[in-house]
């Protein structure tokens, strides 16, 4: 009966705990309890108090947990249930560790489960955590093979081994050809992600801004535009749903073709006029499980995969963004769009439901009658927002029924969606084409990384109004009520109210404390580089990078470089070992003798490491009878000089014998 070494078992249990800890938030609670139970059981088995489970008990555990996972997750397909199964398999194998091979299986499984963590998380802290975990698993493996090594010594040994593997790891990471996945596993999407949604009713965004989660980071080439220019367009909402009192997207069928690639053609492509200087930027977006992406107006068409340009001049991803997604765009902050608007679109953009929000409609009609033009009407409406005592607040009162009427005439306290929604409604009531735009506004500029980090609390809604001869222009009613929101950011606009009230301890709350901000910005910049260069190291990026530094490169040369790198590392290790070896001080006699050995090695008669001089001399002499006398002379001289006296003698005799040998071999 195999008894696993005590230290190995302890290390194994620690590594299993570490592996499972990283998954614990995704596992049903009963799986975690089962893990603890199995580990405890194994400890009791080790102490000889309990016995291993019987066959039927094991069968019950296996099928029971199989069903449990199926019911717990509602499905057996998908990454989370599979990882759950794997975790269960790992801990059950603990209870089946009868032989040494089983212990190895547990260790290999632990490595594998540790690996699966990267399917969910790739951030720096997790990577460091995983590195530690892998070290502990490796020390368990060492403990398994060397029973008498203490856990601490095993851990140190494992750390050294892993540290030695780092150059190889970097080499493989950079140079090993990256291939797209052969198959993909659906990551369960019922985990809610925060972000803007495709319908806006009062209260939506105010809820969203309670989160400090990162939405995306944008790195600019050159100067970053002014804060008030950073309107990240995500969605255009142009249909008012009477039942829900919410703004939603236009029916996609009406828009016609979505442009894909620079050479794609559509009738509306000419409706975009780019003016002024281009702004180039690259965005790394956090996963949203949605299709929309964010861009500054007016974006230029791009060759980026997955992205298409929609009729309302924003980009759309053909696949839902389930993993961090990077894209590059060029935008022109000065532009003209849709200078001509067809009657159909004029109708759609002024459409309002019948018998709805009568007071707002009446107000619109009155103001329209008082104004001389669309332009004038716009200013009158904005003046109305300014003059009638509207307030910008994070905690707007609940609205019911005709929400727009209620907001405009009763509560008058609202967040950006209240202002944008009611403003567009009012413009349409006056017959002016208008629509709501949802996205983010602003973002925190990080000087170290030259990027702007946009968080959920930067979520914003504003309006676009169509003017004769000017096309669509951006109007932000929030800017009229709370100008700080647009120029400096949310927390300056809501002074007096608690910013991020529902979030626990967040470094974002301490934006006014200098050193915390400094630290946060540093870490954030580090994260940015990590995401951009390590997590985002894609096949295309690999090719670009290698092309830049190694010249034109294909798969074959890549393989050559890889092999070259391997051999360089091996050569360095070998050199190090050699240096270590020859660091011993040799007596002149020994040096001379080694020279002779080297000479004979050149003749194909190398001395084995453990071969004594007499044995060697005998072997060589029988292999080369022609040199036998010379070899015997050298051997005798060496043995006499090196071993006959306490201290090695002068090498003259040996030198002479060696010289004679050389001369003879020439003859």
């Amino acid at each position: 009966m195999y008894q696993i070494p005590r230290n190995a078992l302890a290390l194994m249990l620690v590594s299993i705990a570490l592996v499972i800890l990283s998954h614990v938030m995704r596992l049903p609670i009963w799986v975690t309890l089962m893990c603890i139970g199995c580990c405890a059981w194994r400890v009791m088995v080790f102490h000889g108090r309990w016995s291993f489970p019987g066959r039927w008990v094991k069968a019950f555990f296996v099928f029971g947990s199989f069903l449990g996972v199926g019911f717990g997750y509602g499905t057996l397909l998908g990454l989370e249930p599979w990882v759950g199964m794997l975790v269960i398999a790992l801990v059950l194998k603990l209870l089946e560790m009868h032989r040494k091979q089983d212990a190895y299986t547990v260790v290999v499984l632990a490595y594998f489960v540790a690996l699966t963590e990267f399917l969910f998380e790739q951030s720096i802290p997790y990577t460091i955590y995983m590195y530690v975990t892998i070290t502990v698993i490796t020390s368990a493996l060492i403990g398994l093979n060397q029973a008498e090594v203490s856990p601490k010594a095993a851990f140190i040994k494992a750390s050294v081994m892993l540290a030695q593997a780092i150059p190889m790891m970097i080499l493989l990471f950079v140079l090993f050809p990256r291939i797209g996945p052969l198959w993909t596993v659906p990551v369960q999407s019922n985990v809610a992600k925060t972000g803007v949604t495709d319908s806006m009713s009062p209260g939506n965004i105010a809820e969203l801004v309670q989160s400090d989660a990162l939405a995306f980071r944008a790195t600019f080439e050159g100067e970053v535009p002014a804060y008030s220019q950073l309107y990240w367009r995500g969605l255009v909402l142009s249909y008012f749903n009477k039942g829900h009192q919410s703004w939603t997207q236009e029916r996609p069928g009406l828009y016609g073709r979505t442009l894909q690639g620079k050479n794609d053609v559509a009738a509306w492509k000419d409706n975009m006029e780019y003016l002024g200087d281009p702004v180039k930027y690259s965005v790394i977006m956090e996963p949203t499980n949605q299709n929309w992406v964010f861009s500054l107006t007016l974006p230029e068409m791009t060759e980026q995969e997955r992205l298409g340009l929609v009729r309302d001049f924003r980009f759309y991803s053909f696949q839902e963004i389930r993993a961090r997604f990077q894209y590059e765009l060029t935008s022109y902050l000065d532009y003209r769009t849709d200078v001509e608007l067809t009657d159909f679109w004029r109708h759609r953009y002024t459409l309002l439901p019948e018998d709805d929000n009568p007071r707002t409609r009446a107000l619109g009609e009155t103001l329209r009658a008082d104004s001389i033009s669309d332009d004038d009407y716009l200013s009158q409406v904005l003046r109305h927002f300014m003059a009638e005592g509207f307030a910008y607040t994070l905690k707007p009162p609940m609205l019911e029924g005709n929400t727009i009427d209620q907001f405009l005439f009763e509560t008058k306290r609202g967040f950006c969606e209240h202002f944008a929604g009611s403003f567009v409604y009012l413009m349409r009531a006056g017959g002016v084409p208008a629509r709501v735009v949802v996205g983010y506004q602003g973002g925190e500029f990080n000087r170290r990384g030259n990027y702007v980090a946009v968080r959920q609390f930067d979520a914003h809604a504003w309006a676009e109004v169509w003017m004769e001869g000017q096309g669509w222009i951006r109007v932000d009613p929030t800017a009229v009520v709370a100008p700080q929101r647009i120029q400096e950011g949310l927390e300056f606009a809501v002074e007096g109210e608690e910013f991020l009230a529902d979030v626990g301890l967040s470094p974002m709350k301490f934006r006014s404390t200098l050193w915390i901000t400094e630290l946060r910005l540093q870490f954030s910049a580090l994260n940015h580089y990590w995401d951009a260069w390590v997590v985002g190291y894609s096949p295309t990026m690999q090719m670009e990078l290698l092309n830049r530094y190694l010249g034109k490169i294909d798969r074959k040369t890549m393989g050559m470089y890889l092999l070259g790198g391997f051999f360089t590392i091996f050569a360095l290790v070998a050199l190090f070992l050699l240096m270590k070896r020859s660091s011993r001080k040799l007596a002149p006699v020994e040096k001379e003798y080694l020279r002779y050995c080297q000479y004979l090695a050149g003749q194909g008669l190398a001395r084995a490491v453990g071969e004594g001089p007499i044995d060697y001399g005998r072997r060589v002499a029988s292999a080369r009878p022609d040199l036998a006398p010379g070899i015997n002379a050298v051997t005798n001289a060496y043995v006499r000089l090196n071993f006959a006296e306490d201290r090695p003698g002068e090498p003259e005799l040996l030198r002479k014998a060696y010289r004679n040998l050389r001369i003879r071999s020439f003859a």
């Binding site: 008498e148 020994e590 490491v609 004594g612 001089p613 090196n642 071993f643 090695p648």
Partner: protein, 306 residues
């Protein structure tokens, strides 16, 4: 001197056929004043070798057959009441001889084993508070069956360390075996052996062996071997200083037997397996004391030249 040694080797070799290396090692052991452990199956000629050595070296000889019920008093002797004198008189046990063959030492209990082993180390026994010196020279040849055979009490490492060398005889080669089958009984042949050496000469030889020269370079080599056993993970423990001294003493005798006034690495290598195998154990091996592979590793991996 060399002729004397050659004569002893030849004499013993005429009885124990085809085992010249083992005979030489046994003699080297005797010259180094160490004890010898022979491990092999029954019937391989262990007793014959011991008996022949005693005869050739002209030593008083006795054999102790170890069984599971033998007691220390059976080995050392015991005071017995003498009716005529009215006192206890000490009756010397079989251990009071110059050459002892301790047969199947691992069949007896640790208690009796340690009685013998203590005598081997101290070269005296203490009975009733009185120390009694053992004869000079005192040479023990112990035999043991392979330790995995039934009914054995394996010797612990601490006691194995007391033996200078451990050798195996092994099967004879076919020619030797043919002669063995054709020839007379070995016991008869031992009776015909001539004494090749007297006590005085043996003493001189032992002194001469101690005087063999050892150079710095050779000591370096021995220390490299010792260090290798201590630093490499495949050994459970390294060689003890006693092991190192045993290696040097055996190598000196070996060099002397081969007519050299100084030790060369080949001498160390010749005695190395016999000297270290029973002192080493592989790290992954909990049961067997066989370090054959380990000794081979020492020979192959430790460089002879600095």
């Amino acid at each position: 001197m060399r002729q004397i040694i050659q004569r002893t080797v030849d004499q013993v070799g005429s009885v124990v056929l085809g085992k010249e290396t083992q005979i030489k090692l046994a003699i080297a052991c005797l010259l180094s004043e160490g004890h010898l452990l022979i491990e092999d199956m029954p019937g391989m000629g262990k007793t014959t070798l011991a008996h022949a050595l005693a005869k050739v070296f002209n030593l008083s000889y006795n054999r102790i057959q170890f069984t599971s019920d033998i007691l220390p008093a059976d080995i050392i002797g015991a005071p017995i009441f003498d009716k005529d004198q009215g006192t206890f008189v000490f009756h010397e046990g079989p251990i009071f001889n110059q050459l002892i063959l301790a047969d199947e030492i691992n069949r007896t209990t640790p208690k009796s084993q340690s009685a013998l082993l203590q005598a081997m180390e101290e070269r005296q026994v203490t009975v009733e508070g009185e120390a009694r010196t053992l004869p000079e020279p005192f040479f023990v040849i112990a035999t043991q069956n392979p330790s995995n055979q039934a009914g054995t009490f394996p010797l612990p490492e601490s006691q194995l360390d007391r033996f200078l060398m451990r050798i195996e005889l092994g099967y004879p080669d076919p020619i030797a075996e043919r002669i063995l089958l054709q020839d007379q009984d070995r016991r008869v042949l031992i009776g015909t052996l001539e004494t090749a050496i007297n006590l005085l000469e043996l003493k001189e030889l032992q002194q001469a062996c101690k005087g063999v020269k050892v150079s710095e370079a050779l000591l370096d080599y021995i220390q490299r071997i010792i260090a290798y056993t201590r630093e490499t993970a495949e050994f459970t423990h390294g060689l003890s200083p006693r092991g190192a001294m045993a290696l040097l003493a055996s190598a000196k005798s070996w060099a002397f037997m081969h007519d050299r006034e100084f030790v060369v690495p080949e001498d160390v290598q010749a005695v190395l397996p016999s000297v270290v195998e029973h002192r080493l154990r592989e790290a992954s091996d909990f049961w067997d004391h066989v370090g054959t592979a380990l000794a081979q590793r020492l020979l192959n991996n430790v460089d002879v030249i600095g």
